[in-house]
Symmetry: C2
DNA sequence: CAGAATCCCCACGGATACTG
DNA sequence: CAGTATCCGTGGGGATTCTG
């Protein structure tokens, strides 16, 4: 008899992979983390440069995001004891390795976002069509 | 020449890539989408099987997530006109292509989640250390 | 079995004001 | 310049109940 209809556990092909996926998504699934990581992927930047380079981010969220990423060792914070103060953020090797994986997602999006948009349009049109036809 | 200190625009190395990244994250950055996609990556499943295979998801969120993914053409919904009803969800080619990119993230997590956890612990210890040392 | 509908909490994140 | 502190609206998502 064996398996064939044994789903039982959390999942089949990815035992605790689901846990890992959730961990990563809890980390970079927020609104700003990957934007910050991507921006720092090009070059180390100071706080004010990040504010300018990540359009729409608020001071609060930039700070919160940076602290979170620093906590996980994805970037380093270097404060120079000058006046006026200067603080530079830079990706760690770990952060850069994550950037690669994120870029894979970005590539997927670049290739398929049009298709997704089209699917969405068609799907929504069917919806209104049913209402008119019904 | 020139440049070197020209950050100006949104970002440098990824003009509208940031837009694409945000699109993907708005799609899969939620709490359940990638779990559902990953689960369906192993095999097509019916609604109740998904409930069992994605631990912790509620009926509401499974339905909402499935509808969103179907809308974007990442999976198909097939309802068999039987009683009791039977509905099977299956990834489309588009969904499977996204699964590949998601798996890249999962791999990163599988390799580095320990390192991240360690960084986090060290960082937090320094925090309490400062409080005790201060 | 496979949802739809409703209620409601709370934490993510924006705006603003203040500080070393 | 590089933050911190506070207030507060919005919506993501959980629990529960009802239906075809």
């Amino acid at each position: 008899m064996a398996a064939e209809r044994t789903i039982s556990g959390p999942c089949r092909a990815w035992p605790q992979d689901s846990v890992f996926i959730r961990e990563v998504l809890d980390r970079i699934g927020d609104k700003w983390s990957v934007l910050v990581i991507s921006t720092l992927g090009a070059a180390p930047l100071r706080y004010s440069d990040l504010m300018a380079s990540v359009p729409g981010i608020s001071q609060r969220m930039l700070t919160v995001t940076l602290k979170g990423l620093e906590r996980d060792g994805l970037l380093t914070r270097t404060a120079f004891p000058e006046v006026p103060p200067r603080v530079v953020y830079e990706l760690t090797d770990l952060g850069r390795s994550l950037l690669s994986a994120v870029m894979a997602l970005a590539s997927w999006a670049a290739v398929h976002h049009g298709e997704v948009a089209e699917n969405r349009r068609v799907h929504d049109d069917v919806g209104v069509g049913r209402r008119k036809a019904g």
